[in-house]
């Protein structure tokens, strides 16, 4: 086994290191303290934060790749072991033991319609629905038992060790914390007990496990949401600071630059960039994901740049900056040491708000045909495929359902979390 780093992995690691450094150096600023206080102020913010952490955990597991002698796999693939490679013949419904479509099989000289057994679901089971239901129930109860006892352990641990750190003196907050973490733990246990024996969300057209695909899509969504901001931030910060602080012809030039980029309707600009750039890269799915992030970053830095420019404009006249100028501090130093930290709340709010928009935009871009590579697992690709599946008869709904639910909880939590940030950084607006 050999550890390998794909391009997107590398960027994600860099992003994590950057965020860690940022939290280390700026973690004590009033903004961050306010954010921490706000998250433990309302139950819904706490729940959103926990769910986001859960998603981030899955995404990170999927960002650790290594090479075995046969194939490249991620830590998540390793945990879901067999589900990443096994393939049925074609569609099968959730928890089903048989294929969704009948096959014609010659039996004793007659052609007969048969629903063939699946190769990788309920292998040891006898062929009656009773035994299947009993088996599923047993598995569910085992999983719930394990999950609940783990939650109990967590409760004990927090109660004994962490109580004072959590500052969760509010009863409703404590309940929210334990219920959410309990539900998440139980979900992990349930999928652990069920996914190896059944296709929890059925299989797709070529027989791949849909549950596995939706879980794998989490990484694509997260990478798209975070890495795009990585590409966007340098442009927005650099140009915004320069334009706002130095003014003059530089300001005019930068304003012209972002007005021009802004003038092209969003999807068209993304499509034009993707169309012209995609011919230049090899057909590597991972690189294409990175390219998409870059293109999205290029098209979306303008809004943040404008905000930063305006705020720098305002800060420039503030007394502490004027006194720094009076003391003879250099321009670069003023911009980096005195203005930049005071812009961070705008940056954070914008990044979080953009994140949910980007995850949603991915589905639309996939539909238009300029999204991630068709071989990448992504919610956009899944939903796109399910467009045809819903039209077929009998319809196939599980891919749409699975991707919708996983995507919804991510975007919904991010949206709620961005509310928390607004409340923390900009209390007047709420």
């Amino acid at each position: 086994m050999k550890w390998i780093i794909e391009w997107t992995d590398l960027v994600v690691y860099l992003l994590l290191i950057g965020f860690g450094l940022y939290a280390y150096y700026f973690g004590q600023t009033p903004e961050w303290q306010a954010l921490k206080r706000t998250v433990v102020k309302r139950p819904r913010y706490l729940v959103a934060a926990l769910i986001l952490l859960f998603y981030a955990g899955i995404g990170l597991l999927d960002c650790i790749h290594f090479k075995t002698n046969t194939q490249t796999m991620s830590a998540l693939d390793y945990l879901m072991s067999s589900r990443s490679v096994e393939q049925e013949k074609t569609y099968s419904a959730p928890f089903s033991l048989r294929l969704y479509d009948a096959e014609l099989i010659k039996k004793e000289g007659h052609l007969q319609q048969v629903y063939p057994r699946l190769n990788f679901a309920g292998v040891g089971l006898k062929d009656s629905s009773d035994s299947q239901v009993i088996d599923i129930l047993i598995r569910i109860s085992k999983a719930l038992g394990l999950g609940l006892s783990l939650t109990g352990l967590l409760y004990l641990f927090c109660f004994l060790r962490w109580r004072q750190y959590f500052c969760l003196e509010n009863k409703r907050l404590l309940t929210a914390f334990y219920v959410t973490s309990g539900v998440l733990i139980c979900l992990v246990c349930l999928s652990g007990f069920l996914m190896f024996e059944y296709h929890i969300l059925g299989t797709d057209k070529v027989g791949r496990d849909v549950f596995y695909m939706t879980i794998k899509s989490i990484r694509t969504g997260l990478v798209l949401g975070t890495v795009t901001s990585l590409f966007m931030l340098p442009f927005a910060l650099f140009f915004g600071l320069l334009a706002g602080y130095l003014r003059g012809w530089l300001d005019d030039l930068i304003q012209y630059l972002y007005t021009t980029l802004n003038a092209v309707p969003g999807v068209l600009l993304i499509a034009a960039l993707m169309l012209s750039l995609q011919t230049k890269i090899e057909t590597d799915a991972d690189l294409r994901l990175l390219l998409l992030c870059m293109v999205l970053g290029l098209t979306s830095w303008t809004t943040l740049c404008r905000l930063i420019r305006a705020e720098t404009f305002k800060l420039r006249e503030a007394e502490f900056i004027q006194s720094a100028i009076g003391m003879g501090v250099g321009k670069t130093r003023i911009m980096l040491r005195h203005i930049l930290p005071n812009l961070m709340h705008i940056v954070l709010i914008t990044v979080v708000l953009d994140f949910s928009g980007l995850v949603l935009a991915e589905t639309i871009l996939s539909y238009v045909g300029v999204g991630v590579d068709p071989s990448t697992y992504s919610w956009g690709n899944l939903i796109n495929a399910s467009r045809l599946e819903m039209a077929r008869d009998p319809m196939v709904w599980w891919a749409l359902f699975g991707s919708l639910v996983t995507m919804f909880f991510l975007v919904f939590s991010v949206n709620i979390f961005s509310d928390a940030m607004q409340e923390a950084f900009n209390p007047k607006a709420v």
Binding site: Y256, A263, A271, S276, T363, G369, M407, V411
Partner: protein, 326 residues
């Protein structure tokens, strides 16, 4: 006075158009050479040199990029790809698409269906969302407000694509109230348009209602509202007479600036419900990698956007008498 103002705004818009023009030229001709474009359309592999040259001649790509040394006089400039393909965009001369059809002709045929979907959807969404936001503000601080805000957040978190798939499935396939997709000329088009319009209105509720609500809230925190309440007006009157009127300006900015872009139609709705408008035209072009059409659409979109900005500036003057044309 106003004529001079408009003239100056148009004058200011020209550098932006030049910028976008250069950008499209850079993307479509410098990053991808005409040879690349020819190869895409002829298939990636097994293409001979002659085939590429023939394709370039028949589509007018067989001249140098920016400077033609072989020609005389003015033709040194005009007989280039930059002039023939990029500069002519300024004069709405989009030329033929890579598939060979005249782009202007297609636009003329297709803008009407686009408008038929985009305009009613836009107006309905606007009025519905302002109404919803108004209701939420009316019950500010109550349960209803909180639930309404959460519902908006909920709707915001679902992809438009999902609304389209499920809407089409429920209304057209299960209930059979309306046709699944398609288009007809004249009044018959109504049947086909209702579903896409309704779905796009529904999909807009989350984000837009939230936006209008924030807007009204911002107005509500102003001093004049407190004064109005203090002098004894009912909250409803304050909302209707003062808040709505003052919130008009930001609403107007949003509305007027996107009005011209409605001409381009809705990319998603049109292609999903196979309505032969400009949106589906663009999507088809993107999928078939027809660079000529994409280039034309990018430029057209920019022109419409700038027109929108211009209209916004002018409309300010009519709404807010304090703004002077300087």
């Amino acid at each position: 006075m106003i004529a001079r103002y408009i003239f100056r705004r148009i004058w200011q818009a020209i550098p932006i158009l030049i910028g976008v023009n250069l950008l499209t030229f850079f993307l479509f001709f410098l990053i991808n050479s005409p040879d690349d474009i020819a190869r895409i359309h002829l298939g990636q592999k097994y293409v001979t040199r002659e085939q590429i040259n023939d394709w370039k001649i028949s589509h007018g790509y067989n001249v140098p990029l920016v400077y033609n040394a072989e020609k005389q006089g003015i033709e040194k400039i005009t007989q280039t790809i930059f002039f023939k393909k990029s500069v002519k965009l300024f004069f709405f001369d989009f030329g033929p698409s890579d598939a060979g059809r005249d782009i202007i002709q297609s636009i003329k045929e297709r803008y009407l269906p686009s408008l038929q979907v985009a305009l009613p959807a836009f107006l309905l969404a606007l009025s519905a969302n302002i109404l919803f936001a108004f209701c939420l503000i009316l019950f500010k601080g109550s349960r209803l407000d909180l639930v309404g805000a959460l519902v908006c957040l909920f709707l915001m978190s679902i992809s438009t694509l999902f609304f389209m798939i499920v809407g089409q499935f429920l209304v057209a396939k299960i209930l059979r109230w309306l046709p699944i997709s398609g288009y007809e000329d004249g009044w018959q088009a109504m049947r086909f348009l209702i579903l896409p319009i309704c779905i796009s209105v529904f999909a807009s509720i989350g984000a837009q209602t939230r936006w209008y609500r924030a807007l009204f809230l911002e107005e509500m925190s102003q001093d004049y509202v407190r004064t109005a309440i203090a002098k004894g007006l009912s909250p409803f009157e304050v909302l209707l007479k003062h808040v709505l009127r003052n919130a008009c300006i930001p609403i107007l900015t949003g509305v007027v600036s996107v009005l011209p872009l409605l001409f381009m139609g809705s990319l998603l709705m049109e292609s999903f419900f196979s309505i032969p408008g400009l949106g589906s035209y663009t999507i088809d072009a993107i999928r078939e990698q027809d660079f000529a059409i994409v280039r034309a659409m990018v430029f057209l979109g920019t022109e419409l956007y700038i027109l929108g900005l211009l209209l916004t500036d002018i409309s300010y003057v009519f709404v807010d008498k304090r703004i002077r044309l300087s």
